[in-house]
Amino acid sequence: MAQLIDDDPRIIEFDVRTDEMLVNMGPQHPSTHGVLRLVLRTDGEIVSQVEPHIGYLHRCAEKIGENLSARQWIPYTDRMDYLAAMNMNLGWALAVEKLMKHEVSEKARHLRVLIAELGRVASHLVGMGAYGLDLGTFSPFLYAFREREKILDLFEEACGARLTYSYITVGGLTADLPPGWLDKCEAFLEQFEPVIQEYHALLTTNAIFVKRTAGIGVLSREMAIDYGCSGPVLRGSGVDQDMRRDGESIYTAMYDGYAFEVAVWKDGHYPRDHTYPAVPADAVLGDCWHRFFVRMLEVVQSIDLIRQAIDRYSACKGPLGEPLKLTEKIPAGDAYLETECPKGQMGFYVVGDGTPIPWRVRARSSSFSNLSVVHELCRGCLIADVPAIVGSLDIVMGEIDR
């Protein structure tokens, strides 16, 4: 091992020219969205190469999954994308249900839509607030977290936890909503909708924000698809793809009958079902501003979806149903399912062998692929653009490292 370190310069240091600088945005850094290490090779202020180093948050969730039953692994999915844990739970639960060929009750489906979309709003609020923080502005961060607190309060009433819920589980949900929850949820939506206009004023149309994000980190369609990007990163480049509409039937069946527009630039404009600020003149499709704007649009679409889900859940007469037993056998075979999580398409692959413990679990993280494109985007940008680009990808290290 020692000889390998001495011989191979890539491991410890690059071969640095005398006029180049090696700047380390180390694992502890306020702008790297978790424990991410970015090694920048710069010529003065201009970055010629960014190399991300990940793995600081690797907790061997996949290895642990080979020793636990499907339901027991749900808390590990919580801790992957901890900002949108509901969606992680849903992804894993659906993947196992696909393999087991198990269908949940209709009421459970509507409740899952409600919870998943509320989780999407919560996650995008962090994405938006933390992005402002990366660029140096503190107020949007606090405003976003003020609203997020209300969502977390709702989740705490529903399942007892604020961050790592384990609420959606294999076979349904662990418990039904408490009485009065739907009224509180509707009150929150009533109060939240006008506040979004505040965020547009604070960030989306703010001249400084536009200057720092428009035209920066432009990701072309082909590169986005080739690098496996998904979610707002992909839709921000103009690719019309959303797993809630295009994905596996077990997942799209959940959204059957729900009216929503995919937030993507199509035919020269974004969806026109709500009023949005105009796209600034400097913004280029695929830049940081568009990726950010897609998230803002998705928040509004999610509010619509939540309202529809509340109506359909309340109108549903059947029972919620019980989740499957902790030791339910997983049939032999394998199943892969991707769900549209706030950060992108999160895929879960489960290989069963007839026992309750799966043979292999694999979590395909959206942020993992989204982050891999950063070395292309940051070529030739300024050092100050690096947090703008990384922030626009909205990554979370828990998901990348698992």
Partner: protein, 176 residues
């Protein structure tokens, strides 16, 4: 995609590459000879109808029972199964490619099994293959930068293999 016609074109273009298939499975899959995986991938990305322009996930499944008493009773052969999940953006269909590798090259423990890298076909494979190399110990021939991604650079062993044992210590930290 869900038709024999697609498979016929693939077999006509690359004879001998497809060694198995199950298009009626939950996730339809075709098995490919490991040394032909890059050719098949390139065909699927560029010449197929629909074009599979996105690689979603690369997984290595280690079929190995480390307990010798249980190993005598299993029905399957010990092997590493590479699973590639593909997606076509235009047609919105998915396809699974599988390739079977021996657990150790030439059955010599320590010599990693080899498969050509598909990083030249889909650039996302770069990081996915680094993770498979790191976790399951598969050598990707032609990979631009094969090194560990999740574990530290000087970690020894391949954690997701079924016969992996945690090292006794790592830089003074007790392992087990």
């Amino acid at each position: 995609m869900r038709g024999p016609a697609f498979l016929e074109k693939l077999e006509a273009a690359l004879p001998g590459a497809v060694t198995g298939r199950n298009l009626e499975a939950l996730d339809p899959w075709i098995e490919v000879a490991p040394e032909r995986i890059a050719d098949v991938s390139r065909w699927l990305k560029e010449s197929s109808e629909p074009r599979f322009d996105a690689l979603e996930c690369v997984t290595a499944v280690d079929w190995c029972e480390p307990d010798p008493k249980k190993a005598a009773k299993v029905a399957w052969q010990p092997r590493i199964e590479m699973v590639y999940h593909l997606w076509s953006t235009a047609a919105r269909v998915s396809l699974v490619l599988k390739a079977t590798l021996p657990r150790w090259k030439n059955d010599t423990p320590g010599e990693l099994p080899e498969i050509p890298s598909v990083a030249g076909v889909w650039r996302t494979a770069d990081w996915h293959e680094r993770e498979v190399f790191d976790m399951s110990g598969v050598n990707f021939i032609g990979h631009p930068d094969q090194r560990r991604i999740l574990c530290p650079e000087d970690w020894e062993g391949y954690p997701l293999r079924k016969d992996y044992e945690m090292p006794l210590e790592y830089h003074g930290i007790r392992g087990r």
